[in-house]
């Protein structure tokens, strides 16, 4: 079994999908982006550090570390990461739910924002039935109203303000 694995060369995509290769590339990308974004910051000297001294120093450091991690990833055998539809579903739905909540909380108030959050968030898993989602939404509205509005007296709008 292990002999068979050793003889078949991993495909280029499988090498790219190793966690260390991807992390190395991620670090390099962030560092390059940081260096580009800070290209106009005054650097100054060690005695009189300018705005850009620390950012550029750290970006170069991250770039170097990214290269090392990438190198390790390329050399060491590791199972490639596989993306699953379930993971994409979770990422998209959880992010959408939170973004919708953030955009609506001031405009539409807590009640509608919670409805949006539970509605979009429930799409993250197939296990949740529509009836359960509805019950969860109502329960969460009651719970957060009693804790945050009634109990702690936070100034969050509850209903849309027209």
């Amino acid at each position: 079994m292990s002999d068979a694995q050793r003889t078949t060369k991993p495909s280029r995509w499988d090498i790219l999908a190793r966690t260390d290769v991807l992390s190395g590339l991620l670090f390099i990308a962030i560092a390059a982006f940081g260096l580009w974004a800070s290209r106009n910051y005054p650097v100054g000297t060690a005695l009189r550090m300018g705005t850009g001294y620390m950012p550029r120093l750290l970006c170069w450091l991250l770039l170097g570390l990214g290269v090392i991690v990438l190198g390790q990833g390329l050399r060491q055998q590791a199972a490639p990461l596989r993306s699953s539809p379930q993971a994409w579903r979770a990422v998209l739905s959880v992010t959408a739910a939170l973004v919708a909540f953030g955009l609506s909380i001031e405009l539409l108030g807590l009640v509608l924002a919670i409805l949006l959050l539970t509605g979009l968030g429930a799409l993250a898993t197939r296990a949740l039935r529509p009836v359960e989602t509805a019950i969860a939404a109502l329960g969460l509205i009651a719970l957060s109203w009693s804790i945050f509005i009634f109990g702690l007296g936070l100034t969050i709008p509850v209903w849309p303000e027209w």
């Binding site: 910051y41 950012p55 979770a90 939170l98 539970t118």
Partner: protein
């Protein structure tokens, strides 16, 4: 005796009915999130951080501290009964704890875990009370160069003690330092990495980052996997009291675990998780019959459970005496203090004795409450374990949203947290531990400020760091630590080469 006067002040504060209530709430919430897999103390403390704005500083800290050490108690329950760690700090408790439960001795395992934790809690509280004042005195003589060297040592220690890849841990710290730079530079007034977004000019709040990475990121991460089958031990837990044999076997393990946890907790980057792993390894090494481990050895529960509680509590020492966070939870505690305009550091003890001693006293009371919450009421927590994750994540997500919104009263912070949620998920997927990032994020601005101040004092001469004896000592310690890491790494590499050849 000044010591007893101080303790009297502390108990005066901690026994105040409101503060007793907050200690209880903290212990309950801590146990709850400890029992529930999929939500940890970092995310919870970050979510509740905004609420402490409305409380007295000492009450807020008492509650947040209760969550941290309460989670160490609750985590063992899930580990023993379901073979799933409720927290990362109880991963090793699963090994022998669940075996004991399968042998019908779940009650004894739970009791040993709780009693060990309580003993460790008492000792480490006493250690904080005893060692913090002299340490704070030392801290008062520190100038900018000493602080910079100390924080450097802290970051290096955090890397050395992190599990997993060391290079990746360093990269995560650097990433955290970079995220900490976002906003306006206090010294020159220039903005950094704000990309013209007005909301970013004040910088990113630690709560937003922590809720995003640990709260939201964890939710995505849990949902992206199929839900684990939870094989709850079905039998009723009847006998809670351990046998005489259990006591005989475990008392030394509890002592060793407490000692190891107390030491590792003080170290930067240490804390609960590292302590429990180290304690389990130590127990296996000193045992006369190591083959018993993994088959329900009671020492395998007693030592790590004592160690994680001791480590959780002693990690408060550097935060309270020097104002330096050793782990992500302490970084959030510093956030809680600064919300109230309190600058953490050696002056806290002399300027705000009620805050310091009140918190120390409340830790002891909280530990007492936790034994009661965890042992007689174990049935309630077992019921809770039957709630599937799909009913929980919506509530956790909502609390994340409300928490971020209230911390700054800005909707844009919620969008930022959503972004960090995706970042956190990606990092976890790539096996990059996000905890060092938070540490870098909090320490970054502090280090930059002290570095600049030191350079000003020395008019640009970097030799100031080696000319001051304390600073030199700290730097030597940092260099030694780096050397220690380098050696086994080299050895490891060579072994790898040999294996392949």
């Amino acid at each position: 005796m000044e010591f007893f006067d101080n303790l009297a002040i502390g108990f005066g504060v901690a026994l105040n009915p409101a503060n007793l209530g907050f200690a209880f709430v903290g212990a309950m919430v801590g146990t709850l999130i400890g029992v529930l897999p999929g939500i940890g103390p970092i995310a919870t403390i970050a979510m509740l951080l905004p609420l402490t704005f409305h409380l007295e500083p000492v009450s807020g800290l008492i509650m947040l501290a209760g969550i941290f050490y309460g989670a160490q108690y609750g985590g063992s329950t899930t580990a023993i009964l379901v073979n799933l760690p409720g927290e990362t700090s109880s991963v090793v408790t699963c090994i022998d704890g669940h075996q004991m439960a399968r042998q019908g001795r779940a009650g004894a395992a739970l009791a040993v875990a709780a009693i060990g934790s309580f003993f460790a809690g008492c000792i480490s509280t006493a250690l904080i009370a005893g060692f913090a004042p002299p340490l704070a005195k030392v801290g008062q003589s520190f100038g900018a160069p000493e602080y910079f060297s100390l924080m450097l040592l802290g970051l290096i220690a955090a890397v050395v003690l992190a599990h997993g890849s060391i290079i990746k841990a360093v990269a995560m710290i650097v990433l955290g330092l970079l995220v900490g730079l976002v906003g306006t530079d206090g010294n020159t007034g220039g903005t950094r990495f704000t990309f013209g977004i007005r909301e970013l000019t004040d910088g990113i709040d630690v709560a937003t980052l922590a809720i995003g990475v640990f709260g939201v990121g964890e939710i995505i991460s849990n949902l992206s996997r199929p839900e684990e089958e939870r094989s709850l031990i079905a039998q009723k837990i009847t006998r809670l009291w351990p046998t005489g044999d259990d006591f005989r076997r475990s008392w030394r393990a509890v002592l060793r675990g407490t000692a190891l946890g107390s030491i590792l907790g003080v170290l930067p980057g240490g804390g609960a998780t590292l302590s429990s792993f180290a304690a389990y390894a130590l127990e296996k090494k000193v045992s006369r019959d190591p083959s018993r481990f993994g088959r329900g050895a009671v020492e395998g529960i007693a030592a790590p459970e004592s160690a994680n509680n001791a480590g959780a509590q002693t990690s408060f020492i550097p935060m309270l005496t020097l104002g330096i966070p050793g782990n992500a939870v302490m970084a959030l505690m510093i956030g809680a203090l600064t919300i109230h305009g309190i600058q953490p550091g050696p002056q806290i003890m002399s300027e705000r004795p009620q805050l310091f001693w009140g918190m120390v006293a409340s830790m002891w009371i909280g530990n007492l409450m936790l034994v009661i919450i965890n042992l007689p009421l174990i049935g309630i927590w077992v019921q809770l374990l039957k709630v599937p994750y799909r009913f929980l994540y919506l509530a956790i997500l909502l609390f994340c949203g409300i928490g971020v919104y209230t911390v700054s009263n800005s909707a844009s912070a919620v969008l930022l947290a959503a972004f960090f949620g995706v970042v956190g998920f990606v990092l976890m997927r790539l096996e990059c531990e996000p905890a060092p990032m938070i540490l870098g994020f909090v320490l970054g601005p502090l280090m930059e400020e002290n570095l600049r101040r030191a350079m000003k004092i020395a008019s640009g001469d970097p030799m100031i760091f080696v000319q001051r004896p304390i600073s030199l000592g700290l730097l030597i310690a940092a260099a030694l630590l780096l050397l220690v890491v380098a050696l086994p790494a080299i050895r490891g590499k060579r072994e790898e080469v040999f294996q392949e050849g």
